[in-house]
C-alpha cells in the first residue's frame, strides 16, 4: 500500500500539470473579456490598453509558463519570505487578480474562514445526520422512519437552493424577523454574544446546504446497507450468535462504506469550491462567490488558481478514497 501511495503521489504531479494546461486552454478558448463589465462609455482604444496592462496582449504560450512560474515559484518564495524574513521573491510579480489588481492568494486567504464556517460546517452536519438516517432506514426498510426519511430527503434534494434559500429568508427574516438575511463577514467571534450572532447568521445557509448533503449521502448509505444486509455473511454472523448491533454496525456498516466513502471524498473538494447559489442568496461571500465573480469577470488568474487548487484537492481526495477502500476491504489490492 505504501509503494502504491508513493507511486500515485508521484504520478499526480504530471497529472496535475496536465490538468492545469487543460483548464488554461479551456479558459483561453472560452469567449469572454475582462473588460466586459466596464461601462460602454469607455472607448475601445482605452480598453485595448487596459487589456495590454493585464498582460493579455501576450499569446497563451507566454502566459501559461508565466502562470506556472508565479504559482509554483514566486508564491512559495513569497511565503518563505514572509515566514523567515528572507528576500527570494523580491521584485517578482505575484499572481495578481484582473478584477481587484491584488494578489490572488491574499483574497483566497480572506475567503477561507467564512467558507469553512458555513460550507464546511454544513457538510459535517449533513454527513453526521445522513449516516444514521441511512443506516436506520436500511435496517428498518419500509418503516415509517424510512418512508419519512426518503420523502424528506428526496424533496430536499429536488428543491433547488435558489428557492429553498429565499423561502427561508421570507419566513425567518421577513415574516418572523428572527434571523438576519445578510451574513456579516466582518464579525469577529470573541464572546458569547458574538458567538450567538455568528450562530444565528449561519443557521439558514447551513440548513439549506446540509439538506442537500444529507439527502445524497443518506441515499447511498441506505442502498449500500440494503445490499449488504441480505448477504450470506450476515446470516452466518447472526447464526453464530453475534449481537445485532455488532452485526449491523461492525460487519455490515464496514462493508457498506465503499460507495459512501467515495461520495464523501468527492464532496470535500466541493466544500472549498463553495456553494455558489447559497452563498449568493445569503451574501456569505465565500470561495464560491469569489469563483463565480471571477468567472463572470473573466478574471483568468483567479479562476485558474482556484480551479487548480480544487483539482489538487480532487486528486488528493480520490487518492485517499482509494487507500480507504483497501483498509475497509482488505481484499482490494492495488499492487
Amino acid at each position: 500500500m505504501l509503494t502504491y501511495t508513493i507511486r500515485r503521489l508521484l504520478l499526480s504531479i504530471p497529472t496535475l500539470i496536465f490538468i492545469a494546461f487543460v483548464i488554461f486552454m479551456l479558459l483561453e478558448l472560452a469567449p469572454g473579456d475582462p473588460m466586459a463589465q466596464m461601462p460602454l462609455t469607455i472607448p475601445p482604444e482605452v480598453k485595448e490598453r487596459m487589456r495590454a496592462a493585464l498582460g493579455l496582449d501576450q499569446p497563451w504560450w507566454v502566459r501559461f509558463p508565466l502562470w506556472l512560474n508565479q504559482f509554483f515559484i514566486v508564491e512559495p518564495q513569497y511565503w518563505i519570505d514572509s515566514t523567515f524574513g528572507t528576500s527570494f521573491a523580491e521584485g517578482k510579480q505575484r499572481l495578481i487578480s484582473f478584477q481587484s489588481r491584488s494578489p490572488v492568494f491574499d483574497t483566497i486567504g480572506q475567503r477561507l474562514p467564512q467558507t469553512l464556517w458555513v460550507v464546511g460546517m454544513s457538510y459535517v452536519v449533513g454527513v453526521l445526520i445522513a449516516l444514521p438516517i441511512g443506516i436506520i432506514s436500511a435496517y428498518k426498510q419500509y418503516s415509517v422512519f424510512d418512508q419519512a426519511g426518503t420523502f424528506v430527503s428526496m424533496i430536499g434534494f429536488s428543491v433547488p437552493p435558489f428557492f429553498s434559500g429565499v423561502l427561508l429568508i421570507v419566513i425567518f427574516s421577513v415574516q418572523l424577523g428572527w434571523l438576519p438575511s445578510i451574513y456579516d463577514t466582518t464579525l469577529v467571534v470573541n464572546s458569547w454574544d458574538t458567538f450567538m450572532t455568528q450562530l444565528r447568521q449561519m443557521i439558514m445557509p447551513v440548513m439549506v446546504l446540509a439538506l442537500q448533503t444529507t439527502a445524497q449521502v443518506s441515499r447511498y448509505m441506505r442502498a449500500s446497507m440494503l445490499d449488504n444486509l441480505s448477504q450470506d455473511y450476515v446470516r452466518t454472523a447472526r447464526a453464530k450468535g453475534m449481537s445485532e448491533s455488532v452485526v449491523v454496525l461492525k460487519h455490515v456498516l464496514r462493508n457498506s462504506m465503499i460507495p459512501v466513502v467515495t461520495v464523501i471524498a468527492l464532496g470535500i473538494p466541493s466544500i472549498f469550491g463553495g456553494a455558489i447559489i447559497t452563498e449568493q442568496i445569503f451574501k456569505v461571500n465565500g470561495l464560491g462567490q469569489l469563483l463565480i465573480l471571477a468567472l463572470q469577470g473573466n478574471d483568468i488568474p483567479m479562476v485558474m488558481t482556484i480551479t487548480f487548487l480544487l483539482a489538487v484537492l480532487i486528486v488528493m481526495m480520490n487518492l485517499i478514497a482509494d487507500i480507504l477502500y483497501g483498509i475497509l476491504d482488505p481484499r482490494i489490492r492495488y499492487d
Binding site: L11, T15, F18, I19, V22, I23, L26, L27, L29, A30, P31, G32, T150, F151, M154, I155, F157, S158, V159, P160, F162, F163, V166, L167, V170, V174, A215, Q216, R219, Y220, A223, S224, L226, D227, S230, N255, I258, P259, V261, T262, V263, L266, I277, L291, I292, L295, V303, T307, F308, L310, A311, I314, V315, N318, A321, Y325, D329, R331, I332, R333
Partner: protein, 319 residues
Amino acid sequence: MTDTATQELAPLKVEKPRNQWLDVWDQFKSHKGAMAGLIFLIFITLFCAFGPLLWNVDPGKLDVRNKDVRPIYMLLFDGEAKVNWANPMGTDNLGRDIMANIMQGGRISLAVGWTAMILAVLLGTLIGVLAGYFRRLDGLLMRFTDLVLSLPLLPLLLVMMLLFRDPLRATFGPENGIFILIVVGIGITSWMQTARIVRGDVMALKEREFVLAARSIGTPPRRMITRHILPNVMSPIMVSATLGLATAIITESALSFLGLGFPSDFPTWGKILFDSVDRMTAFPERVIWPGLAISLTVLAVNYIGDGLRDALDPRIRGL
C-alpha cells in the same frame, strides 16, 4: 443464485408458462411506493406530452391586460380574487397561461432530465466498470475522471456553445440544437460520481468468492461483467440515476439563468420556478406548481428505483 436474477433483457416469451420478467413484475406490483411512483410518472408524462393537444393554448402567448390572474381555486379562499376560467392555473406577470407553460416546460424538463441522466449513468457505469474490473485501464480512466471533475462547468459550456451552437442550429434547428447541446453538456459533466462509485464497488466485488468461482470455471470477462458484476452494483447506480435526474432538471434551470440555456421564450420547470421566486409571497402558486412537479417526479423515480431494485433481487423476490 445471482445468475438467475438477470437473464439479460430476454424478450418476453409468451409460450413459457412462467416468465421470469413476470415474476419481476409481480414483485414490483407488490411495492406500493413503486406502483404509486409509476402511476404518477405515467400521468405526468402523459400530461406534458398530450396535455397541450387538449389544452390548446400557446404557452408563449402574451396578454398583458390579463396578467397576474390567480388560479381558480383561489375563489375558495377569497371571493374577490382575480380569476379567469380561461386560465385555470392563472397567468404570469406577462399574462402567459401557467398551465400551458407547466405542460410545455415539463416536456423539456423531463426530456432534458431523462436524457442527461441516462447519458450520465451509462457513461459513468461504463467507465466505472472498466476501471474497476480491468486494472490496466484503471489508472488512465481514473486520471481522466479527475481531469473532468476539475474542469469548471461554466467556461466548459461557453466553449461548447462557441464551437457547436451554430453547426447544431444549422443541422437541427434552433430548439433541437440547443437541446442537444444542453443534454450533452449536463451529461458529460455529471457521470464522474457514478463512475467512481461503481468502480469502488466493482473492485470489492471482484474479490468476492462467487466471482472467483465464476472465473475459475473460465467465464469470459464480458459475461462476468454483465452477469455477475453489474447486477450487484445496481443499487448505487439506481441511486445515482435518481439523484442525477433531479440534478439535471435543476442544472438546466441554473443554465438558463446564466444565459447558457434555452432561449428566454422557452419555458422549463426550473426556469418557471426561478422566475417566480421573487414573487413567491404574492403568487405562491407560481412556485408551488413547478416545484411540486420537479419534486414529485424525482420522488416517483426514486420509488420506482427502489421497487425495481427489490424486484430484481431474487433474495427478496423469493420471499
